[in-house]
Symmetry: C2
């Protein structure tokens, strides 16, 4: 026994040291999970336990490619990415055809399920790091929504209140309604987007006014199964969704936001309850919803933000019930129409055409084309650009 | 082609109707996920997609047994439980040795990972249903904790504030510090436990006083990997954890709670900031922590709740640094020591012995033995019994 132990110890001195994992666990891991981990060369290594699996692949829906894992001597299956830029990437663990998530990752709602993601850290992630500045809070609130129907449904929303909200007595605040993409939900802007930390840091730097942010779930039960059934480059809306699906989703959601949610928020929170102090924005499908709800309710919203929005080729002469036909009229009402999209976004062509059409028609708007694809890495930065322009 | 279509249609008329799923999706499913679903006979059916898997098992760590799924004609793998009582059960999907979660389920942090669970509904679930009563809110707050060290760490907590908190001006509230079990975290009492809805309903029925509830993460980074490495009947503490692990975890956590968390809560919220208006309780490992922190800090806490607590065989003469030796002294300080455990709990023997020892020693406490095992179904009911006795 002694000699076997000795051999093991000597072997381990050479082998174990050579195999000791370098780098460190990702900030998106659950507490104490050693993998996935980021290596000094900015690659990320995955490790999965599965004794009897024939094939395990890490898939990222285009985020960082697919990686076939290979057996390591200790019985785990492992694989490493190419060097990655800082940012947020969804991924799945595909085990013999079963698409699952990595127990080492925190859970993020995307693709209509709770799945895995890697947060690749970097100097540029600093704008959403928790710092020694006054912190706001993200709350869950329940409210009764009737939408287009008569029977009420209890719905849960997320609400960010700024750092001084609890102690500022009678101070009232403007409100940004901020929506996720298809296949995501009301938790996405805080979990994936870190809207709270972004705003805390912007407010501390006096770059944005203290404001309340409301996140609802823009996916309606009536559209069951549709968005998650088709492959997508990210949890955004497909470029050309079926008209019926979009109409159904938008009509119901628009009624919920304008008739139930806004009045609830104004009852429940100390808001500045007028259109001049209300903004609506969203990413991908949520951007299309923000535009629809915004222009239909200019009595409620005067600021609209479209983050990589699934708005197709917007024709101001015909689309959106003619709201854009009279440029002078809409310019007089809207204080901000913000349109941003990444150069590698699969929705780029449509959004750029929309921008050009709006420009030709004389509809004032801010237009920003940035690096990046249809991903959270981009949308967090859009909030940093958008929020300081509000109110 | 026509005849093949006809044959298919005729076949489907018989077969598809027979196979149309009965029952309905569980309340624990993500929006629009059709499975798992509860059938009229109180069984639950699982359905998993995995073309190439050799074996898929649903495992519930003793909750409702293990179920080997079988291929259905439509290419899914399916399986059904025996009839189940209403309640909450963790489960995993084991695919060829890979332990994953079910994309149809919401994500619940247990066993040191985000995994799946079924919420089997029933009439007795009514006490945590969202109802048309005034609703409180669950918040996420960040604070800087130093614990036993000097370098601060930013920690995220969950805080329930009661329905009238936002509108009650200068009113101050008592505080319950309420802890999860091993392998769980600060999200567990709201996600799994529905503490917010339980309290909303209790407060509306005037059965409990409006109070603030604080949930911290009692698993310290220093105890990396230990609790999740061993099989457990539930995410509770093993009955006899290694002393070093418990000491490490408790010393650090105790310092964080008593020196950082309590002062932060009293700064950030409108609290009644004295021991007579502070309670500490927890389940399983969290119960052992509540007892340790409570009796060490009777200047901070006067109410202690032990929900199926991992306290071993408590000997009042020797354990807990002699805090229980002088029964008269501790009886004079503690306003409530509440001890509850289920008849099917694997920790029953130790907790019952602890109760008997405390009784013999003359230490006043409430003792409740209920039906049930080491599960959330029981702990939610304990909150219903415990909260009305506070403050």
């Amino acid at each position: 026994m002694l000699s076997r132990l000795l051999v093991f110890t000597l072997l381990c001195g050479a082998v174990c040291a050579a195999q000791a994992p370098s780098g460190q666990p990702l900030p998106s891991n659950v507490l104490n999970a050693p993998y996935p981990r980021i290596n000094p060369d900015q690659t990320v290594t995955f490790r999965i336990k599965a004794e009897a699996a024939q094939k395990i692949t890490i898939t990222s829906n285009g985020g960082f490619g697919d990686i076939d894992l290979v057996k390591s001597p200790d019985g785990f299956l492992m694989g490493t990415t190419k060097p990655l830029s800082p940012g947020f990437f969804y991924y799945s663990v595909v085990v013999d055809g079963f698409t699952g998530s990595d127990p080492g990752s925190s859970a993020f709602f995307g693709y209509a399920k709770y799945g895995s993601a890697i947060e690749v850290p970097g100097a540029e992630s600093d704008f959403f790091a928790p710092k020694d500045v006054p912190h706001g809070t993200v709350r869950e609130d329940w409210y009764l929504a009737r939408g287009t129907g008569t029977e009420g449904t209890w719905r849960r929303i997320k609400v960010y209140t700024p750092p001084d909200y609890d102690t500022s007595g009678r101070t009232r605040y403007p409100v940004l309604y901020l929506q996720h993409g298809a296949g995501e939900n009301e938790t996405s802007w805080s979990n994936q987007g870190h809207e709270d930390l972004i705003m805390d840091n912007l407010i501390a730097a006096r770059k944005a006014k203290p404001m309340i942010i409301v996140n609802e779930n823009g996916v309606m039960p009536a559209t069951a199964g549709l968005p998650s059934a088709r492959p997508q480059p990210s949890p955004g809306t497909p470029a050309r969704p079926a008209r019926a699906m979009m109409d159904n989703r938008f009509t119901e959601f628009e009624a919920i936001v304008s008739k139930d949610l806004v009045p609830f928020i104004d009852r429940r929170f100390r808001t500045l309850a007028d259109a001049d102090h209300r903004a609506i924005a969203g990413l991908s499908m949520g951007g299309a919803q923000a535009l629809r709800i915004g222009v239909d309710h200019l009595d409620q919203f005067r600021y609209i933000g479209l983050f990589s929005a699934a708005i197709g080729n917007l024709d101001p002469a015909t689309d959106y019930d003619g709201h854009f036909k009279d440029a002078a009229a809409i310019n007089a009402k809207l204080r901000l129409l913000w349109i941003g999209i990444g150069a590698d976004d699969f929705l780029l062509a449509g959004v750029r055409t929309s921008h050009e059409n709006l420009e030709k028609a004389g509809v004032k708007h801010v237009w920003i084309e940035t690096p990046g694809a249809h991903v959270w890495t981009v949308w967090r930065k859009y909030l940093v650009d958008f929020a300081p322009r509000l109110f």
